[in-house]
């Protein structure tokens, strides 16, 4: 069953990625990207990397996608075209069903040719929050803290470039 879900998520992510780059409407593209990211999160879940799966949904599918959508809507790209193609329920169902069919097919072929992927037993405890926290905050504490400074530097730099002109003159 797990192997089948792997094929399902894999097919879904590839199909959504193709749909994303071929779709003509920017918002549709963005929404397909969400589908793709959620599918990748599903694959992480199958690899028993729960934390990574949750972060993938929260950060990428959540925060970064909202940012994308905001930028698309604010910049008002290709305003002559419609933002949304109207969502028709039958297209949605057709998309899901065809992905399901395709993944069943790939699964059947892989099963018949004995090329099914096997999950390594070691991966069972790698992706848990406990293992991850242990790695990040004990072994890799120095890079984690350095990342904090890196992000601070990026914020300070962005603010410096964006602040009002000549604000420094009166101080000098």
């Amino acid at each position: 069953m797990e192997t089948f879900f792997f094929f399902f998520f894999a097919t879904l992510s590839i199909a959504a990625a193709i749909a994303m780059i071929t779709s003509r409407d920017t918002v549709n593209s963005a929404l397909f990207l969400v589908v793709n990211l959620v599918a990748v999160a599903g694959i992480f879940l199958l690899l028993k990397a729960q934390f990574l799966a949750v972060v993938q949904v929260l950060v990428y599918a959540g925060a970064i996608m909202v940012l994308f959508l905001f930028v698309i809507m604010l910049l008002n790209l290709n305003s002559e075209e419609r933002f949304f193609s109207e969502f028709r329920i039958k297209y949605g169902i057709a998309f899901i069903l065809s992905v399901l069919m395709l993944s069943l097919l790939v699964y059947a072929v892989a099963d018949a040719t004995n090329t099914l992927p096997v999950l390594s037993p070691d991966s069972a405890h790698i992706g848990t929050v406990e293992a991850l926290g242990d790695t990040l905050f004990v072994t890799y504490i120095l890079p984690v803290l350095s990342t904090a400074i890196l992000l601070t530097a990026a914020v300070v730099g962005a603010l410096m470039l964006a602040q009002r002109k000549n604000s420094g003159k009166k101080e000098s």
Binding site: L142, A153, G157, L159, L161, G168, K169, E171, S172
Partner: protein, 476 residues
Amino acid sequence: MESVNELLTISPIVIIGFAGLFVMMLDAFTGNARWSFYASLFFCLAALAGAVQNVLGPTGTSFYSLVYYGGTASFGAVLVLTGTLFSLCLSKDYLEQTGNHIAEVYSLVLFAAFGMLLLVQANHMIVLFLGIESMSIALYALAGLLRDQKKSVEAALKYFLLGAFSTGFLLYGIALLYGSTGSLALPEIAEASDKGVMYWAGVGLLFTGFFFKVSAVPFHMWTPDVYQGSPTTVTAFMATASKSAAFVAFILVLSRALPDTSQQWQEVLWIFAVFTMVIGNLLALVQENIKRMLAYSSIAHAGYIMVGLAATSGAAYSAVLYYLFAYTLMNVGAFGVVAYYECHKNCDFTEIKNYAGLGFKKPIMGILMSVFLFSMVGIPPFAGFIGKYRVFAAAIDEGLISLVIIGVLASAISVYYYLSVLVYLYMKEDETGMVMKRPSTLYSLALIILALLTIYFGVHPGLLTDFLGSFYSVTW
């Protein structure tokens, strides 16, 4: 107690990281950039003291083998902090002249220095990558400091786009190396036995990333534009500290992660060194702007340093470290004098022909400029000569005679463009009759110290060369 000792092994990193945050907060409370300036100078000196202490101490790894301390790594920290300290000394006057004296500059310089220190002490690809990123992101912002000048904006954008692109190469190289060797720690990469296509693709992409950071030809395109557009003291910082950091990290990667395959990548470095020396020097000949000229000259210097890397012996690596030290001293100095001249006439005074007759107006500045330029040419009593001599001598010992011949010829070309600046300074008449300002005490003091160090390490190099040679007498 053990964790305190571990922290001491990376004391420069800790001090500078803290200093960046402190200086950032200080501005919120005082609102006066002058305090930030003095605080950053103080922390820089403290970090330099820590780095010197580490250089004299034992070598080893700490923080779960993520960082390497002592020896080459800590000497790299000394190089970075020397460049940072002197660029900071020059920054205040220059930024006040351009009306951009804001406190964020100092915290960004310190954040960049933090990245460089991580880079030179990295014993693990993740630390190396974080170092390169912290350094680059802070430098992108600093390059665009003069927002009302088109050149500065151009510099920042160009640096950012090309830099981000090169980071992609570096990261992909690291990923492929991880894929083929199963580890990100430098010594473990060396131990891996499988050297297949993926390994070589990883090494190639890693080299590309490094070549970009040290501006080796054909990845040098950004250098002249960025060096010209950035504020001159930031350029001094970029040209010395960030380049030294990238080279020291390159040495560490070559000698610790890829020692077994040196036969193969030696030839790659050989070819890139030839291109970098020849093209850097030839293009410098035709420059009319002194900042662009110094940018191409720094490309040429990167070429000489790569001759040392191509030699791949311990003697060559220690020669490269010495060269980087001399390079830092003379380049900060030269850019410092350029920044001083530039502050006249609305900060747009960088054409070499404008320097006509200036050598006699402010004799000390003229002499300082001559010292730095003669040192860059590689004329005997100055540190630049010893650096070049030791690098080329180490390459000859390794049998790279044709490479050294090309290097010496390229270096002979460089005499023309360095000395043409002096011809303008001393042998042309000044027709504009402009009045030169008096530089501040700290500014001239910093330049004089740089010049004295350049002369001292040229006359009496034995102390430092013996010391640097001792890093490589033991095999590791």
